[in-house]
Symmetry: C2
Subunit: 731 residues, 2 copies
Amino acid sequence: MKISVRLVFTYIRDNMNNEFLIEEKGFDKRAIKHYEGLFCQGNGYVHVRASHEDSIYGVRQDDEYDRKPANVTLEKPRETLSKYGTFIPGVTGVHPYLKDEIINLPYPFMTEVFLNGDKVDITGNNIENYNRSLDLYSGTLTRTIEVVDKAYRVRICHERVLSMDCKHLALEKTTISLLEGKCHLGLVTGVDARVRTNGFNHLVKIETGKEADRTYLKALTNGGNTVDYRLRTAAKEMDLIPGADDSRCYYTGEKNLGGSCKEISLEKVVAITTDRDFDKFEDNTGLGYEDLKKNSDKVWAKIWDDCDIVIKGDDKTQQALRMAIYHLIRNATDDDRVAICAKGHSGEGYFGHYFWDTEINMLPFYLYEMPDKAKNLVKFRYNTLDGAIKNAKLYGYDGARYAWESSVSGEEECANWQYADNEIHVTADIVYAMINYVRMTSDQEFYKECVIPVMIETAKYWLQRMDKRKDGSLELLGVMGPDEYLPFTRNNAYTNKLVRFSLEETAKAIEKYNVPVERDFLLSVKYAAENLKGYAPLSDNERVIKQCDEFEEYADIDFGQIWTDRSKCFGNHISQEKNYRSKALKQADVLEMMMLFPHEFSTETLKANFDYYLPITTHDSSLSAYVHGLLAARLGRTEIAERFLKIVDDIDMDSNRRGAEEGVHIANFGGLWQMVVFGFAGLSYSMWDDDISIKPALPAGWKSLEFKTLYKGNKYKVTIGKDTKEIVKLS
Amino acid sequence: MKISVRLVFTYIRDNMNNEFLIEEKGFDKRAIKHYEGLFCQGNGYVHVRASHEDSIYGVRQDDEYDRKPANVTLEKPRETLSKYGTFIPGVTGVHPYLKDEIINLPYPFMTEVFLNGDKVDITGNNIENYNRSLDLYSGTLTRTIEVVDKAYRVRICHERVLSMDCKHLALEKTTISLLEGKCHLGLVTGVDARVRTNGFNHLVKIETGKEADRTYLKALTNGGNTVDYRLRTAAKEMDLIPGADDSRCYYTGEKNLGGSCKEISLEKVVAITTDRDFDKFEDNTGLGYEDLKKNSDKVWAKIWDDCDIVIKGDDKTQQALRMAIYHLIRNATDDDRVAICAKGHSGEGYFGHYFWDTEINMLPFYLYEMPDKAKNLVKFRYNTLDGAIKNAKLYGYDGARYAWESSVSGEEECANWQYADNEIHVTADIVYAMINYVRMTSDQEFYKECVIPVMIETAKYWLQRMDKRKDGSLELLGVMGPDEYLPFTRNNAYTNKLVRFSLEETAKAIEKYNVPVERDFLLSVKYAAENLKGYAPLSDNERVIKQCDEFEEYADIDFGQIWTDRSKCFGNHISQEKNYRSKALKQADVLEMMMLFPHEFSTETLKANFDYYLPITTHDSSLSAYVHGLLAARLGRTEIAERFLKIVDDIDMDSNRRGAEEGVHIANFGGLWQMVVFGFAGLSYSMWDDDISIKPALPAGWKSLEFKTLYKGNKYKVTIGKDTKEIVKLS
């Protein structure tokens, strides 16, 4: 059944797992790149965009061009039908214009089919019965097509997965069936290193070759890493001949289809390892595709058993939310030397850099559902404290200043100065997130070993970053808050609040644990926590908190006149010059602060601020809509919340909008999860409340909402119906 | 006689022209690039840096590299011993990172000498009695060296000039004299296209060859221009053989020096033409070096007769001022399709772009000394009105918005958004300059044909650029004033004042000349001229004008603690991030306004502002010191004025500082002229006073000051002594 004319997904209920099946309906050439991002597969170790197995005529994956820094929100990425993406978090290198970026590695799922000598091309007009779907439940991508010709009709079915059990393995199965006539089949399957990242070749050396039962491809990156691919294949009824050229390792085979031989099944196992791996993996079990796939499926099923959320009565949100959880699971990492980049490793957008998105938008999912993975994420910030210290030094400050766009080393990679210089709240966001983790898990060891050092070093930075006034008050000048449309403000409410919180917690920690610091330092931290200017009201509305000191001085603008095409960003309708001096917010700012400190603001205050900022917020950032939706739900304004839910659902899922082309908006996925759990279910925050509670405000159409969650060491099942609510302690 | 240990120039008085002789004393490898800029030659049509005739071992002029946009004031340019520069204003092309830039064209003064097969290298340790000087009076560059060896002592003398009479001709004479022993002489003299501009090759095709009595080199630029060099030579007692290779056209010759042949004299004439030229020049007079040089000398002498300023009692300033006037003369152009770039076409710095420097800093010299050249400069802005209209459109505005960094088309070439977007005062500066020209010359035809259209179009822009407040007042938000260390201010005093003036003049012109515009437009212009917020006082000092509305909110900083090495810019000691939020000015801002509107501010007010801003102004911009010096002189604070005079004198002239490496600071040269004429002589401004007058305030050591000037159609001679002053009308 179709759920919306704008959505091309269908939602099938006729077998056990099909509630998890997201189907690409029909084939639209213009949506290839979108689905490459949306259907991206991964297992925390490696991620591969859902590019077609066969290359596309006229599309070169090794096209080189100069991609230069630009305002990322409004950038027009290079247009191309398809873009491969194979990413291993941590494998990065310097791009000539974009600083350090994640490297698009060789593509492991290349399988080209030739019928009577003609290469099958997915964009050709001889393709029928196209069907592709991603099974979220097992992370399996399946594509079926039929190729027709006067002489034959052949069905080709590809199935592939990145094993969740053995994370070094990429598994692929190709089944080719002759349905009518006869034909000659040719096959090339392998690993293809003809790839570039944002137009640049990071692979400085490629070695390929054959071994007894494998072919291999080894790439050396300009970041100094080696990445190894070892490929084995098996096909009944067809001999496979190993081969290798400058940039590929592969197997080839051929067969006449017809008579008794009507079907060929090809299994492929690619073992991927790097010099960064903790384990020395070797693919030596000899297991075939089916067994390896089963092992992977089992791990996926176990994770889903914990993390799933079941919504009855809103198929669209159910699908979007499962997609969100799928991508969050896919990004859950065992490696605390990396975090989750802004595109969730599903595209080259944002260059694989780490933003505050991880801490504020994604972390809650992991905290409540996969706390061991949450620990890796907060640990990553501790591990990159040295990078943050370097950043501070580059600005002439002591202490630690976390990067607006962090590399794996923690160093600043943002190429636009106004963000790099001024969007300093990330440093306080990280402390907030660490404390959030500790309050959920009571992991005191982590607190003492990791959080306190981060608090001490970042406090040193804050003490130097603040300007003292004659009356003794402290200010943060030259600041860009979460709202990036005001790049240069005084005492941004969000930033100052987060910094005050961070300094208060630092002072408490020093005193509680007798941290050996100079007494003067402690006094300075306490003084700063008390005297850094807090949020202040508008002059004509006491309840409304000013986004920044001079907020009222920005110009009012006529949105109706300027923003004529609402299908496009507001930012596309106005010059940056005018935007920067006008009262048009890119995203929630004061409201974001209220979401993070819910206990501090009365419902009345929240309402007043919601009403004031809503009409002047453009939501050009994908981090905005969910905050508004979540707060609207908590305020019981369900209709408004539903309006935002639709936006949040659609950001990546709407194939007309094609939002996932450069990679999915993983922070928005984290936001969708938060919106459902903290907004509609009204779950208490473990950051602020010791006891679990819910205060549901379901959308009108929702019949029920069910999920499991951890809360301060216990596991619960939450079930909410039209007029019922229940929290059951599971362990 | 040496005048200062810091200066390596000597000032010789023993023949008629030697007061104009600037000598490079001794040879310092580290100063090669500085003197290339400082001794740059030119004639308004073509400019050639004073690179040595012989190439330097290990220095490649065709080195390619990626030069990316950076904060120009604080940029560290690529280090190299020498950098050629041959510029024809208007011959520009697109650089991959820096937008449209002036192209460094093939070098016409290549002359390499081989003695017994060894190439003479100016950095070699076999060079003695090095002597190089620039004769400002004739624009002649002369270099003499002796090359010593066991077998010989040879003197090589180069002399060269770009003809001021026939502007297409580059003239060069080389005299080689055997002083001791004997040796074999080899010579290659020609035009060398192995050049790059900011690391990039703009020359897409080079054609070289031989004709009956010439060799030639023709270059096609990536801007679509062709540039032709035709080379003829003559040498007594030596045959010259024409030759050409991929990137050079030349003549070679050889001779055994010794016995009766002890001296070889080589004359070289290079005719340079482009497809942009108004005239179809052919070098067909057959005149030799000496005659051509004499013709050029005569023109130079005539110009100096009008433009010279004689200072007795301050040799250092006399030299600096003559150097300033020399470079201003060199840049005076007959072509109103170009203006004067920020480096006065003596280097690749600022990429040949046109800034407000032309209008505010340089134009006064031309107005008072060479008004026909002044007309070309203001006409250029009219000619590029279409470019300014394009700029406005790109921002979504009607009307015309002049570029912060203008190309020859008037389009914006500034690669840093904060300047391009926010430093909007240039649009009003241009109107001010045009009116300044008209008030000096009474050129009503120009006023009606050019100034009024520019005023109308820029007024349209301003009407849209302003934000209206609820009380009906108008504001300019998001503005960078002349002080580039506060990039994002509200109602910058300088900018608002210039814009108000521009709008007032526009309204007057519409009414006086019945310009056919909509009545609503006229009313809007009048309303804006009255209601745009004017300058306002500081809260605790009524006399002091705030640089911008929020000026008092910026942080005070401790200059002593931060600015530890005063030989370097303040900006090198502080991060841009901290700088942008602190009360540290890059240059005069409110004071610059007071300089431009002297009648509007009382001495008391000027003093109060001078005293307030002086301690917080860093003069990191070369446009700052002269403004302070000029105003100090007008205030009668001669000691402070002298302090600034020293800074202004030294910016390019101090060979230890090596300020001219990337090209001279031509705006500072214009500033030095203004400082002497409007400051120390206290000449009235023709912009504001109908009658000429002077109010001298000479530095203590000055015995006299003498110069000629035009003033509202008449020519005067001004003579100022210790206690005397005189204005004599000459015509």
